[in-house]
């Protein structure tokens, strides 16, 4: 037997290799790439002027503003929550830690429609707080607060999920050393913990932001779809589409698509810094154990 030359691995047969690559590329082009192309083709089907006309329309501009404002509130709040939750869960041992993590991840598995309906039963007139808020003149549903709350529900797990596996793997030794040398809790966090988790944190924030800006189902239940008032950009896409303003709908969709592409680019860059690895391999466990990390 020849030495030094490894036998070809399973699937290295050129015929199989080519067939599989071709299968994946063709299907990927049809199912994933074609939707991207059709969005931009439709958006610019009346030329750049047609595109600009839609984007310049006050309703579209308002929808963009509302989406940005929602993200500016929901994302920072979720980030603070994510850091607090990850700190509590990974730096301390307390009863129910695992259960708490499961509860935090519930929004991942719940249909966005269910989330929207659930919020109606808290802040709607038939809800828990609804009548009280109504008599106090505070409007939550069919207004900005409702949209923000529903977005927060949908994205609650995004930052936590990135931080917990990573902070678990990093252990507590560094923080304990810092505090035993006299650093305050805040100082320990900002000069010891944060530098170690910054890429994973940013990764979670980027994904959270993309989801907040693109959320449709949950927001569509609580927003009331008031044109030029409570329409976020994804809702505006639907409204224009159902109004048979196809070019307008795709122009608005194109903005969201650019956001998605930027998100993916940021994701790839952050993954090169090592972010996103920790959250994946709950199933490829060996790398999760401290000291065993590659």
């Amino acid at each position: 037997m020849q030495r030094g030359k490894r036998p070809p691995r399973v699937g290295d047969n050129p015929a199989i290799r080519r067939t599989l690559i071709a299968f994946v590329l063709v299907l990927g082009a049809l199912l994933v790439l074609a939707p991207l192309v059709v969005i931009f083709t439709q958006a610019f089907s009346l030329g750049p002027a047609g595109f600009a006309r839609t984007i310049g329309h006050p309703d579209t501009r308002h929808a963009i503003m509302l989406t940005v404002v929602t993200a500016l509130i929901a994302v920072p709040v979720n980030t603070v929550f994510g850091i607090a939750a990850a700190w509590a869960i990974t730096k301390f041992d307390f009863w129910g830690r695992r259960f708490l993590l499961v509860v935090i991840e519930i929004p991942f598995s719940v249909s966005p429609i269910v989330a929207g309906v659930a919020y109606l039963f808290v802040y709607g007139l038939q809800g828990v707080f609804g009548p009280m808020l109504d008599s106090a003149g505070i409007k939550i549903l069919f207004a900005l607060p409702g949209i923000v709350l529903a977005s927060m529900f949908v994205t609650a797990p995004f930052v936590v999920r990135e931080l917990v596996p990573l902070m678990q793997a990093q252990g507590r030794d560094l923080e304990e050393a810092a505090t035993s040398l006299g650093a305050s809790g805040w100082r320990t966090f900002f000069s010891v913990t944060l530098p170690n988790i910054r890429w994973a944190l940013l990764y979670g924030v980027v994904l959270c932001n993309a989801r907040v800006m693109g959320e449709f189902g949950a927001v569509s239940v609580v927003s009331g779809n008031i044109r030029g008032q409570t329409n976020t950009l994804p809702l505006h896409v639907e409204l224009l589409y159902h109004d048979y303003q196809t070019v307008g709908a795709f122009a608005a969709a194109a903005i969201l698509t650019v956001l998605a592409i930027v998100t993916i680019a940021a994701k790839v860059l952050l993954e090169r810094q090592g972010a996103g690895r920790a959250s994946r391999p709950a199933l490829a466990a060996p790398t999760a154990a401290p000291g065993n990390a590659k």
């Binding site: 929550f81 659930a118 039963f121 923080e175 693109g214 449709f216 639907e238 998605a260 199933l283």
Partner: protein, 274 residues
């Protein structure tokens, strides 16, 4: 051994966490369950077992199953190709796999509808062969498989990367064919990850709303998914019925969540032993 707690910040961080989770996650879902339960068993059962509701479960579950089966083949092939082969544009393909997660569902919905509508790029070609996709259950399946594609790729890919090549080599020296090595050595090792990916993909498809409603046609009894029926009951101001049907979706989500956690716990035990 009990370790003395040295790090500060437990009351603050845990306080924020519990307050936020309570207000944002637990309170709304609790209110939903409470509302659904306030119907009483008879009325609840009448709403959730009405012919229209049952038809919506049927189309949702069958489409989600079909979408997941499709993603099993496509997702596994994608993960395999991305891990095992080198080809130009591979990194781009790897990045683009995440597009369905990054693209807002409403955008995916109108894009897929534009492609598969009878006058669309694919729809017009398919129409000549007599296949209708948009406004049929097939369209629902396509929308669901689009939005849930990354799950299987992203759960299988890291496991495939970490697969010990000596196992394959051992099988090869024993004279196993590629086919039998794949089926009897590699696939069993991928199984825990694959199952977890499948259950995530299925769960996501069951709850999908934005991508589906544009392409589905939304005809009661035939192309109306459960999430949409919930929405319609709300628009009719039938809040009790909406709560009841939403609670069915919620219970299904909890069952799927428990199932996935079980699979992950098993996978962890499995890898810890080896």
């Amino acid at each position: 051994m009990t370790r003395r707690r040295v790090l500060p910040g437990l009351p603050l961080s845990l306080g924020i966490t519990l307050f936020y989770v309570g207000l944002i996650v637990v309170l709304p879902l609790g209110a939903l369950v409470f509302h659904a339960a306030s119907l009483g068993p008879e009325d609840y059962w009448r709403v959730v077992s009405s012919a229209r509701a049952v038809a919506s479960y049927r189309v949702t579950v069958l489409s989600a199953l079909a979408a997941t089966a499709f993603n099993l083949v496509f997702g596994l092939a994608l993960a395999w190709v991305l891990v095992r082969y080198q080809f130009p544009g591979k990194r781009l393909v790897d990045a683009i796999v995440d597009l369905p997660f990054a693209l807002p569902t409403a955008v995916a919905g109108i894009a897929l509808t534009a492609l598969f509508a009878p006058n669309g790029w694919f729809g017009s070609v398919l129409a000549e062969t007599g296949v209708k996709v948009a406004y049929t259950p097939l369209g629902i399946m396509i929308a669901m498989s689009f939005t849930s594609l990354p799950f299987i790729v992203r759960t299988v890919q890291p496991v495939l990367e970490d697969l010990d090549p000596t196992l394959e080599e051992a099988a090869q020296t024993l004279g196993g064919s590629d086919r039998s090595i794949f089926l009897r050595v590699i696939l069993p090792l991928l199984m825990p990850a694959l199952l977890a990916g499948l259950s995530l993909s299925f769960a996501r498809s069951l709850g999908e709303f934005g991508a589906v409603i544009f392409i589905a046609g939304n005809q009661p009894m035939s192309t109306e998914i459960t999430a949409l029926l919930t929405f319609i009951r709300l628009e009719e101001y039938d809040y009790q019925a909406a709560a009841a049907i939403a609670s069915v979706l919620l219970i299904t989500a909890f069952v799927m969540l428990a199932f996935t956690n079980l699979l992950q716990a098993r996978a962890l035990r499995h890898t810890a032993r080896s």
